[in-house]
Amino acid sequence: MTRPLIQYFLALVLAPLLPGIINRVKAFFGGRRGVPILQLYFDLYKLVHKTPVYSRTTTWLFRAGPVIGLAAMLCVLALLPFGGRPSFLSFEGDLILLVYLLGVARLATVLAALDTGSSFEGMGASREVQFAVFAEPAFFLALAALARGGGGLSLSGIFSNLTPAAWLTASPVLTLVTASLFIVFLAENSRVPVDDPNTHLELTMIHEVMVLDHSGPDLAFIFYGAALKLWALGSLIACVILPRHYGSWLVDSGAFILAMFFIAAAVGVVESVMGRLRLLKVPYLLMTALTFSILALIFQAGR
């Protein structure tokens, strides 16, 4: 029982490192030194000490948004296996709960955004929901394809079942799932080519624009929640590309954390070498992910 708990706290502590790694990789490509790798920790510390400012037009929905969002992410992380090792909260069917928890977080953010009555935030909310229509089935079907490989409907079960040998027998399925999950990962975490986390242009934003009105600890919750989401979706990819090795717990965990850093670096590279898609084209990208997932499921079912 201690190990799963240590895993959980490791994830909570290490998650804010991922944006730092992405930024450092981007800075490297841009020929800059970049912000400190621990910048998000400093920002979070600074923000929780600030007094939030609330617009008079907002209601409790606006204040509840960041809290629900963060709470949902904390639950998500509790469900997720760590380096192929089961989580302390795994049960049969937690896969479905995971998808719904992500949905709850999205709903809370979107409602909080709409609550401000700002036209920018309304546009951001509309875009977020529109893209989720494509991203959610892609994500769900990718998980379904993995579940079909054995291990039932529990994430811990699926990834305990996933061994390096699976890459020899089911590599097309796993490749398609990885590709689909990576696209969903970029879209859900509002990274390039779907969104631009660094832009200051309200009219082009998706996720950033929905949180424009939040400040102080609320904003810290949002930033931390975003880091956890990055970790959560990233860890699924890490578990697929680096299945459990049955080595020691320390080695497995270390390798898993390195894989997470590698994924963050890969995001940094993607963001450095390509531009953003036109918003109209984003659904096409997500439909590609959906197609990958469906194909993976069909291949898996046919095995």
Binding site: K26, F29, G30, G31, R32, S119, F120, G122, M123, S126, V192, P193, D196, N198, T199, H200, L201, E202, L203, T204, E271, S272, V273, M274, G275, R276, L277, R278, L279, L280, K281
Partner: protein, 494 residues
């Protein structure tokens, strides 16, 4: 009927030679000349005893000459905008500055900081075009923006992500420069000119100096002509480079955005090396230039220029060879050639739509008499790509010009004292700044001082082009379109 006055660029004409048409003659003659291919470069009102004198200056680009039409009237004038959209903003400006009613103007609204019966009306307090319907919505952006940029208000009428109409309200930066110039030139005049639009310091300062020199009948020494051209082209290179970087930044393409940010600085530093100021302030003065180049400095400049250009070329090539960037640029924010001509767009924005006007080509002065400036094979698609690629071609041409000029500096002085300005005269001075055509029109009084000084920044023509580029486009493409024009707020607001 009296014919319009035919003018030459930079030739001081006696103000008396300006034939006064009766208003009726003016309303027949002006449309006729506009239809004959005239392009309004300036249209303004001049307070006079017994009314307001309207002066319309038309450029006939292919014949390389100007025409001036003038009439005197009271209370109101007839709007020609319904037939000639290029006059739209000019007429609004006249109505505002001269307190005249523009009869029949389809969209008579304030342009800048307006005085209504003596009381100031702050900018942005106005009616906006509205689209009604259950599924339409309105988005208001500015005047305070998220980035460190100038203030302006943008009102979008949208259907989901689709923009039906964009209206732009400016005027927040109005400083009253034109009225400050009356009675000049004084000690501050050059300073006002250089800060009309800070990024176009050389462009506006040159236009002003040429106007003064024409009124003084002064001849600029050949060496100063070359120095001015070097500064003007460096300004063009620096700003276009910055724009390419900003365009890359808007589509989140990191490499070019980072490189161009630095390279713009490198080119600005070359200006600083010449005259001590990155934007070229105090370089161009009436009668010549204030700073000269030593052989050692020329060598240093050439080295820096080559290094900067090499890097700009690499950074720009990255843009054209990255498919994700091209996918964003191509087909975004299209301004057709017809629209560009009807609105009287100028500069790179017009050239990107296939309107091949360039003051350096059509009304050449100094070294431009013997140098070609227009690039062959330029795109004419009128989209963001065309505006970006046109900038790159102009960077290349400017580099070639500066490289050539650095080693062909004629010997001699850089300054010749200009004499007094002619009384009762007027002159039209055009200059191709990096954004496009700058027009300064100076009128002197009987003491040889400025009686009126009219400034037209290229942004004045081009803001309407941006509004049209967004029509039926995506609202998320606005920042990109905006960068592709990169217009000046303070140059418009004066």
């Amino acid at each position: 009927m009296t014919a319009p006055l035919s003018l030459n660029h930079l030739e001081a004409a006696g103000f008396k030679s300006l034939t006064t048409l009766t208003p009726d003659e003016f309303y027949t003659s002006a449309p006729e000349r506009l239809t004959a291919g005239g392009r309004a470069v300036s249209y303004f009102g001049l307070p006079e005893e017994g009314g307001t004198r309207l002066i319309l200056i038309l450029a006939f680009d292919y014949e390389r000459r100007l025409e001036a039409l003038s009439t005197v009237l009271n209370d109101s004038f007839r709007s020609l905008t319904p037939d000639f959209p290029q006059l739209h903003l000019f007429e609004r400006e006249i109505a505002e500055q001269c307190d005249l009613k523009a009869e029949g103007h389809p969209w008579l609204k304030p342009v800048r900081y307006q005085l209504k019966s003596g009381l100031p009306v702050p900018p942005g307090i106005t009616e906006f075009f509205k689209v009604r319907g259950r599924e339409t919505h309105e988005v208001a952006v500015g005047p305070v923006h998220a980035g460190v940029i100038e203030p302006g208000h943008f009102r979008f009428q949208c259907h989901g992500e689709l923009v039906f109409h964009l209206e732009i309200a400016l005027g927040y930066q109005h400083r009253g420069i034109e009225s400050r110039l009356i009675g000049g030139p004084g000690k501050l005049t050059s300073h006002y000119m250089e800060t009309l639009a800070g990024d176009t310091t050389i462009g506006h300062a040159s236009a002003y100096c040429r106007a003064v020199e024409a009124l003084c009948c002064a001849r600029v020494p050949p060496r100063a002509e070359v120095l001015r051209a070097i500064m003007l082209e460096l300004e063009r290179m620096a700003n276009h480079t910055g724009d390419l970087g900003a365009l890359a930044g808007d589509v989140a393409y990191l490499p070019t955005a980072s490189f161009c940010g630095r390279l713009r600085g490198d080119i600005l530093n070359m200006s600083a090396l010449i005259c001590g100021n990155r934007f070229g302030r105090n370089m161009v003065i009436p009668g010549g230039t204030a700073f000269d180049l030593s052989p050692a400095l020329i060598k240093e400049l050439k080295l820096r220029l080559d290094a900067a250009f090499r890097d700009v070329r690499d950074a720009a090539d990255l843009l054209w060879s990255t498919s994700s960037v091209m996918a964003r640029f191509e087909g975004t924010g299209i301004v057709s050639k017809g629209t560009a001509m009807a609105l009287g767009l100028v500069g790179p924005a017009a050239r990107a739509s296939g309107v091949r006007h360039d003051v350096r080509h059509n009304f050449p002065v100094g070294i431009y008499n013997s140098k070609a400036v227009l690039s062959e094979g330029a795109p004419e698609s009128g989209d963001v790509y065309a505006r970006a690629y046109t900038r790159w071609l102009e960077i290349k041409r400017s580099y070639e010009l500066v490289s050539g000029l650095l080693y062909s500096l004629p010997a001699g002085p850089i300054f010749a004292v200009p004499g007094p300005m002619k009384a009762e005269s007027f002159v039209v001075s055009l200059e191709e700044g990096w954004r496009g055509e700058i027009c300064h029109t100076a009128v002197t009084d009987n003491a040889g001082k400025f009686r009126h000084y009219k400034i037209k920044d290229p942004s004045f023509n081009n803001w309407q082009g941006l509004a049209m580029a967004l029509r039926d486009g995506q609202i998320s493409d606005f920042p990109l379109c905006n960068k592709s024009f990169n217009l000046s707020y303070c140059g418009h607001d004066l």
